[in-house]
Symmetry: C2
Subunit: 361 residues, 2 copies
């Protein structure tokens, strides 16, 4: 029986791919835009229910075939393409109106992962021609100091995007601080009003949070169809899990959110056509969590000690990459997957904000 | 084989019940409060993940046993209890500070279901001793007329809750109109900022939307444990499906939202320990959609023609009641389930708003 399964499985592989990937012609039609993500407004289709239950198109569960390797979704390359298109837009803006977008970042303390993220944002921001301002506060700074700095950025007309690198030290009230950021400059999109508008049909947030927007963009640019697919999001953080689940739902996936109180997450994850992990736990998602042919987006960036590495540590994802590549049809690597996309989407949101401020089209 | 299954199934029934229902001692500890729903703030538990996958406690799928009948969750009785406690609070308020809560309703057009809902709200509001104001606009009224009326209610210090009966006629911009309602008087909780705060960990909405709050209250008052349960919400409307899914997630259920683009909704629904249907499709949820022992909350209120009825129609739910009662462990009826709870929660939110406005504890 087992011997007979192998050729059947081999024959089925193109079907997974046909199901999960759109034709390249769709890709081409977006080539003149900076990103593929469509206007959120256009995603509001009418929910027209019928009493008859619909048929499933889910493939039968299939066993590992050791010679199968998932397509690696190259976030670095996709992000580079986006950054290059942003740089062109910034040049055009400078040439036509003598202005460039401005991004301001506040960093508190010396978390090594936060420092890495901010360094990447600084480099990327300067590369595309943005004006960049940064304030670094010591770990023991006061809420008042951070809020005052934010107020100055709010009033600065040369700044179009403001972000506070999270997480903040525990003595600072994150919600209170984030609330100080002017809605028009909240390029991280973490304001509750933005999240509410992202969640609700018929509404449109000013900015879609960067990492979730990056995840969707990776799927779209890889030709993965989202509508009608079963999506499982592992983690429900305000900055990744929650907005990613809302965004996937906007794209008409059937979304389940797993969290630490979920019973048997492995079984639920294994039903996902699209599996997004944002739990922050190294190797949480083993091969047995993956449905054959699934597309995996690994948002985890977990620092683990590595003496051979330049900084004494390296980043690994939530997903056991070796096991998952034998089962999934496509997967984002860590590093080089979602990380570069988060930065690209931050630039994208800041550019949008500047265009709006300057009434530049 | 079939013959042998019956005694096994009979023996298993108490296990479903033990799993789904808390002990009554928990119930008693809340008896001096108006409702059982805890403060949302306290629901933010830390997500502590571990790499080891957790074991499932899901029961094996079981066949119908025709002699089994689900417990009917009596929304009317539960709502009456809540309304009676609200009336006591209003008396106390009147006695101590000479004030009562005020509720204002705007109704546009002559939809018979909307008229029924508004009639119920009027009666309930007056019964508990609220001040009640209503404006009825004709179907062809302008956005401006509705907004002006809302502004007057916003400024009226004797009004603490304002609601616009939905749906509005198509020529009116629902989002724009709802946005006019002062956040402090948005007792329906439909403002995007409220929804954002409901969705986000560490945040707290001013008001939880009435129908979702009523659904959770029905579960809690019936002793149904939510944490760790698989919940499926059918429908993703801004006023029921979306906020119900967010609220269930706040109570640490593992939530999946089904919508019109979901493939094989029947299969997914059948995995739910708690099944909430808010699709607005009569008899959408057949017996085959229900997991044995599940708890069903039927939010559907679909008017169907009935010449024997006083108004020429009667309301039925989304769930095929006859089939579901043979499989579920508990179910809310239509009418008499969620409907009365929606009204009770509206009164509850308005009382909270008035208490806040008068600084009355």
């Amino acid at each position: 029986m087992r011997g007979r399964l192998v050729p059947i499985l081999a024959a089925l592989q193109p079907i997974w791919l046909r199901r999960c990937f759109q034709t390249t012609s769709t890709l081409r039609s977006f080539s003149n835009q900076i990103i593929k993500s469509p206007s959120l407004l256009s995603l509001d289709l009418a929910d027209s229910w019928s009493s008859t239950s619909k048929q499933s198109d889910s493939s039968p569960i299939q066993e590992n075939t050791n010679n199968w390797t998932a397509k690696i979704i190259d976030g670095k390359a996709i992000a580079e393409g986006i950054r290059s298109r942003i740089a062109s837009e910034v040049s055009r803006m400078k040439e036509l109106i003598g202005q460039v977008p401005g991004l301001a970042v506040i960093l508190v303390g010396q978390r090594r992962d936060s420092e890495t993220y901010v360094r990447n944002k600084t480099i990327a921001s300067e590369e595309v021609g943005f004006k960049f301002k940064m304030i670094v506060f010591p770990e023991n700074c006061t809420e008042c100091e951070v809020c005052n700095a934010l107020c100055r950025f709010n009033e600065d007309p040369s700044i179009h995007g403001i972000l506070v690198q999270l997480p903040l030290p525990q003595h600072l009230d994150e919600a209170k601080i984030l609330n100080v950021i002017s809605l028009e400059k909240d390029v991280d999109g973490f304001h509750p009003l933005n999240i509410g508008n992202l969640a609700m049909q018929g509404m449109e947030p000013l900015f879609v949070p960067c990492t979730p927007k990056g995840c969707i963009e990776l799927l779209l640019q890889s030709g993965v169809e989202i509508m009608g697919k079963k999506a499982v999001v592992i983690g429900r953080s305000n900055i990744v899990g929650l907005p990613t689940s809302l965004l996937l739902q906007r794209h008409h996936a059937t979304v389940t959110v797993l969290h630490a109180f979920t019973k048997n997450p492995e079984k639920i994850a294994r039903e996902a056509d699209i599996l997004v992990s944002a739990a922050g736990v190294p190797n949480l998602v083993r091969g047995s969590w993956v449905k054959p042919g699934a597309v995996i987006v690994d948002v985890g960036t977990n620092p683990i000690e590595d003496r051979r590495s330049e900084h004494g540590y390296r980043l690994i994802g939530d997903v056991c990459f070796k096991e998952a590549t034998r089962i999934a049809s496509a997967i984002t690597p860590v590093p080089g997957g979602v990380g570069p996309m988060t930065v690209a989407m931050l630039l994208c949101n800041t550019l949008e904000s500047a265009k709006h401020a300057f009434n530049f089209t």
